[in-house]
């Protein structure tokens, strides 16, 4: 079981390539207001994370996700269930 910090650094690593050029991704970064993610970018991130961790991420968690931290918290919960 990975720690929150270990998961966070992996999530940041997966979000960074989807961010606009020159914008750095941090724990408090807001996916929509800071990185201009639209639904297609969010789905692209979801697929990357699903492949990396061999899980399915239910769409139902997405309304609770605004920041990289929110996403990491949800991911940790899902990995805890596997």
């Amino acid at each position: 079981m990975q720690t929150y910090e270990e998961l966070l650094s992996q999530v940041i690593e997966m979000v960074q390539p989807l961010a606009p050029q020159g914008r750095s991704v941090r724990e408090v970064t807001d996916l929509v207001s800071d990185l201009e993610f639209d639904s297609l970018k969010v789905m692209s991130l979801v697929e990357r994370v699903e492949d990396r961790f061999d899980i399915s991420i239910p769409l139902n968690i997405l309304p609770d996700v605004r920041t990289v931290r929110d996403f990491t918290v949800q991911l940790q919960k899902l990995l805890g269930k596997v």
Partner: protein, 400 residues
């Protein structure tokens, strides 16, 4: 954030699009001349963006049936079937559809959207799981959301990805519904339904729902859709469809062999709380269904037109959807070029659908043409010629 702030981006997009003088996202047809022609902004156009696959909207028998129903049964039912009762023609249409689809039972809905919303939200609930194709129609997403079930998306038309996700569910498979479409409305590509059905069989307990909105009357020896075409109707637990495309009216249906289907009328809130279809709609739909069944040559004509137009557009160098289909998606990497092309096509007498992100599947923009059995060979040539005449910078032939 104030209530209306969230619409600001939409307002800016609409403003940018409306500067050409024609409202691309709120087109008004001043006059509808026939199944394939209308007048827009004083300009006569060939309709190539209507989903009118069999061209039945002006069929004289359908019009006569609708007129007759209005005269004898009135203009509307003024309430839902649960509250006000059914008209006999609602029940007759359900019997005729069940006979056509080879299903034990059918429920008729007031729109195709309500059919998906009602069936999906009723079939599943909290604790259940939907595994849906990523390119599913909004009505599928909305129905799944309304159910309170868990929603998992698999990669578009990828049975191996579906298989992987079903495998991950373990014991929850008995509470799982797979949802796919026959033909996808954006790119016109078909579901690999034989492979998807095989995946379903490898996971006993899972159920399969197929939305045949764009494939009813289009695919299969008898026009029943993709499941008939792929020879897997027995694997499909619930087949959903619409009257607003091949049948030229409005409404929806769900057919199934599960006896529980009839019970769902009472638990199905979108069905219980929507006024039932008006008599004229049911009458023209019944007649259109009879035409669909008795005139398979309409499907041949539709496919002939689809292949001809797809071939012309491909030869012109456009980037298209993956296979010839009555939905032909012309792909553009840039929104502005798609919009300029859409406007130029109107000026050349051709109306198609402009599809912008995020409605389009991969972030690009589309000009979506839908072909009809009602198009004459001359109209198909006219549409192709109009695309051929688009100025090179607009056409962006290397796009997408």
């Amino acid at each position: 954030m104030a209530i209306f702030d969230k619409f600001q981006q939409l307002a800016a997009t609409r403003q940018a699009l409306s500067e050409s003088g024609i409202q691309a996202i709120s087109v008004v047809m001043d006059q509808v001349v026939s199944a394939t022609e209308a007048v827009v902004n004083g300009q006569r156009v060939i309709l190539a963006g209507t989903n009118n696959y069999l061209g039945l909207t002006f069929h004289p028998d359908c019009i006569e049936a609708a007129c007759q129903a209005v005269r004898t049964q009135g203009t509307g039912t003024t309430g839902s079937r649960a509250a006000n009762g059914s008209y006999s023609i609602h029940v007759q249409l359900e019997r005729e559809l069940a006979d056509f689809l080879g299903r034990r039972g059918v429920i008729v809905f007031s729109t195709g959207y309500v059919a998906n919303l009602g069936m999906l939200s009723t079939l599943a609930g909290p604790g259940d799981v939907f595994v849906i194709d990523g390119d599913s129609h909004a009505s599928i997403y909305d129905g799944c959301r309304l159910s309170g079930a868990e929603i998992i998306r698999f990669r578009h038309n990828d049975p191996a990805d579906l298989d992987k996700r079903l495998h991950r569910l373990g014991d929850r498979i008995a509470n799982t519904l797979i949802v796919v479409e026959g033909i996808y409305s954006m790119l016109g590509d078909r579901a690999p339904l034989a492979d998807i059905a095989a995946v379903k069989r490898r996971h006993p307990g899972a159920m399969l729902v197929v939305d045949e909105a764009h494939s009813l009357g289009v695919l299969g020896e008898h026009g029943r859709g993709m499941a008939e075409e792929a020879g897997v109707e027995a694997d499909v637990d619930f087949v959903i469809g619409t009257f607003s495309k091949s049948l030229g009216a409005i409404g929806g249906y769900c057919g199934s062999d599960h006896p529980e289907l009839d019970l769902m009328r009472f638990a199905n809130r979108p069905y219980v709380f929507t006024a039932s279809p008006s008599p004229s709609i049911i009458a023209s739909t019944r007649t259109a269904l009879a035409v669909l069944r008795s005139r398979p040559e309409l499907r041949d004509r539709l496919w002939g037109n689809a292949r001809t137009l797809y071939g012309h557009l491909r030869d012109l160098g456009y980037t298209l959807g993956p296979e010839p289909s009555p939905i032909i998606a012309v792909r553009f990497a840039e929104r502005d070029k798609a919009f300029a092309a859409w406007t130029a096509l109107i000026e050349r007498g051709v109306y198609v659908n402009l599809v912008l992100p995020p409605a389009s599947p991969d972030g690009g923009s589309l000009l979506r043409c839908s072909v009809s059995a009602g198009h004459t060979p001359e109209q198909i040539e006219h549409i192709a010629r109009a695309f051929g005449e688009l100025p090179k910078p607009i056409a962006g032939l290397s796009a997408a």
